[in-house]
């Protein structure tokens, strides 16, 4: 989920979540995984829950498949 989806700029989202814009950029690019607290803050901004925001179910399935293939 990008900042634009919430009608915000990356800097505005960063300010609301008390992190730098660079962190938001890295999260959107999938380079950095947010901490639980940051994910919670972002979920509140997007008015959703952490599971939906971080697509935990999908990522879990992907990880399970990777582990099976090890």
């Amino acid at each position: 989920m990008t900042a634009a989806a919430a009608g915000l700029t990356q800097q505005q989202l960063a300010d609301l979540c008390h992190v730098s814009a660079r962190t938001i950029i890295s999260i959107e690019k999938g380079q950095y995984s947010p901490s639980l607290m940051l994910a919670y803050r972002m979920a509140q901004v997007f008015q959703t829950d952490v599971e939906t925001l971080c697509r935990l179910a999908e990522n879990k399935e992907m990880e399970d498949r990777e582990i099976e293939n090890l």
Binding site: H18, V19, S20, R22, T23, S26, Y32, P34, S35, L38
Partner: protein
């Protein structure tokens, strides 16, 4: 006038003091040549400008708040941790190379065994204290 960042203020005052000292030295003991003059002017200007800027930021609530927020940004923290870990690895590697070099040099003086022992102890010592320091640091921070 309130000080919001004591460390920043100290840094700024230190830079200003350095600029003043460089200016005094340049006046008392001028070095010949245009290159030296340019070097002195650039160093003095940089010291004074950076010093004044640091002092101004230390006295500004907004600037200090922004700096502190940037410092505690979780991604920055993680980057610093990883950088420190890598730095530690490099230091240990460099210490090992120096120890080996010392062992080789000592070989020329028929002190190979002592060289190896000294080098190994040096490397182990550096590694151990670096590890103790890094562990204590992260135990406090995390």
């Amino acid at each position: 006038m309130k000080i919001y960042n004591v460390k920043g203020l100290a840094t700024g005052l230190g830079l200003i003091a350095m600029g003043i000292v460089l200016t005094v030295l340049a006046v008392i003991k001028p070095q010949p040549g245009v290159a030296n003059l340019i070097q002195n002017v650039v160093l003095i200007a940089l010291s004074l400008i950076l010093g004044v800027a640091a002092v101004a930021r230390a006295l500004s609530k907004g600037a200090t708040h922004s700096e502190r927020l940037a410092e505690r940004d979780e991604r920055q923290v993680l980057i610093r941790m990883r950088a420190n870990t890598l730095t530690l690895k490099i230091v240990v590697g460099a210490a090992a190379v120096v120890a080996l070099a010392l062992a080789v040099i000592d070989r020329g003086r028929d002190d190979l065994i002592m060289g190896i022992i000294t080098g190994s102890l040096l490397t182990l010592g550096v590694a151990f204290w670096a590890w103790v320091g890094a562990t204590a640091h992260f135990n406090r921070k995390l």
